[in-house]
Symmetry: C2
Subunit: 250 residues, 2 copies
């Protein structure tokens, strides 16, 4: 058995048409954020139970999910509301919230990308593509995910909607193309959400690849991606196909 690592200096077919830039969604495309958030929340709930709260674990989880849905995942007081709703009196509530927050943050220390992501990114770089994370959300929180999961240094850059006071709409993708000085036709967007990652990018001529991961994998849409893949690493097969097709002027 031969030890396999990333391949160096592999022979490449000459490419007439070049995809210069690959835009990459973060949440549930490169990093299984939802799964890790669920783990962190479960740790927090368990710390409340260990702290003496006598409420059924499933009930707590359900209530917490409801609160997160109502106030948004970036709201900083989920556990305060949870314990308020359970009528836990203030001094005890503060202690339990502290326990939950510590457990949540301890769990958050571990944030790994999908296992095939780093090797795929290195291979894409080796083939000469520029790589940019493209994400909707609070900029420093998104950067925190890239840094904690050790992806940040592989990328050539990242674009977060918050920094441009915009959402993942066609104008955002226009801004990115202007910044990186690449034409839409030389660019691919990879993401898991049709409405955010595929439709707006496609509308301005960017090629699109949809990764069928996370909660949106079964969503159907009239406008869909040019390619669909089940695993992130399949992008390595898709890009040469796309470049070949474009070279032929199809």
């Amino acid at each position: 058995m031969v030890y396999k690592f990333r391949k160096e200096n592999k022979e490449e077919p000459e490419r007439k048409f070049r995809i210069k830039a690959v835009l990459l969604d973060i949440d549930n495309t490169m990093i299984p954020t939802s799964s890790f958030a669920k783990i962190a929340r479960t740790c927090a709930i368990d710390s409340l139970l260990l702290g003496g709260l006598q409420v059924d674990r499933e009930v707590l989880m359900e209530k917490l999910n409801h609160i997160i849905k109502k106030y948004g995942s970036n709201y900083p007081g989920h556990f305060d509301i949870l314990l308020e709703e359970l009528h836990v009196p203030k001094p005890l509530r503060s202690k339990l919230v502290a326990k939950a927050v510590i457990a949540y943050h301890n769990a958050k220390q571990i944030l790994l990308p999908y296992p095939d992501v780093p090797a795929t990114l290195y291979e894409l770089k080796r083939r000469g593509h520029k790589l940019y994370a493209v994400s909707e959300g609070i900029s420093k929180k998104q950067w925190e995910k890239l840094i904690r999961s050790n992806i940040d240094n592989i990328l050539d850059g990242a674009f977060m909607t918050e920094d441009y006071n915009i959402q993942k709409q066609p104008e955002f993708y226009e801004i990115i193309l202007n910044k990186i000085k690449v034409h839409a036709k030389q660019c691919v967007m990879v993401g898991d959400r049709v409405e955010k990652d595929i439709i707006p990018a496609k509308s301005i001529g960017i090629h699109t690849v949809r990764v069928l991961t996370g909660a949106y994998k079964d969503r159907t849409s009239n406008v869909d991606a040019d390619y669909k893949i089940k695993k992130f690493s399949e992008i390595l097969k898709i890009l040469p196909l796309l470049e070949k097709k474009l070279s032929k002027g199809v």
Copy 2:
């Protein structure tokens, strides 16, 4: 050499007068919070330098301290302001803030009490005193300190001003005495700050011990504590003296 741990079942002189409760300030009395905060900030500053920011380390530290003084230590955006003041553009700023926040939180994982604190607390408990943390500040942040430094389970309880919409004023100490059902004369307050820990407690008849630690150790005051100690563990010598004195009706 004999292995020394906390003493169990040691003979105690019979005490006619009992100090029933010991109230204990947290910051810089039981936990050297200021030192740990300084370490965490230094780690954060270093992460900015490692992230490529080319500003003198001392200048960054000075600017950060100025911002913390201006906005208060609990303001959540110190590093955002620091980088804004240095005119770091928004997308890069978010990345650097994320790096600083990660470094700060990683450093915060480690929070130890003064080395003599746990053994002293165990010995006070063994002698039959009830122990309560008494602190000004955001309740869940203060609980976080007690939990992280592993003091929370030794204490009989904790009172944080935020839970009572009050500051460390005489009324707060009155509330505590009512809650724990102990008379002021059967109670000692231990703290490092004359204005917060000593004067208001003393004004309602609580005995007071001042620990000469932290930034306030050289502060002089017209009204001062009944006893001053240099190390937290000296409370173990002070309490029997106090009880003896009170038994004699001095």
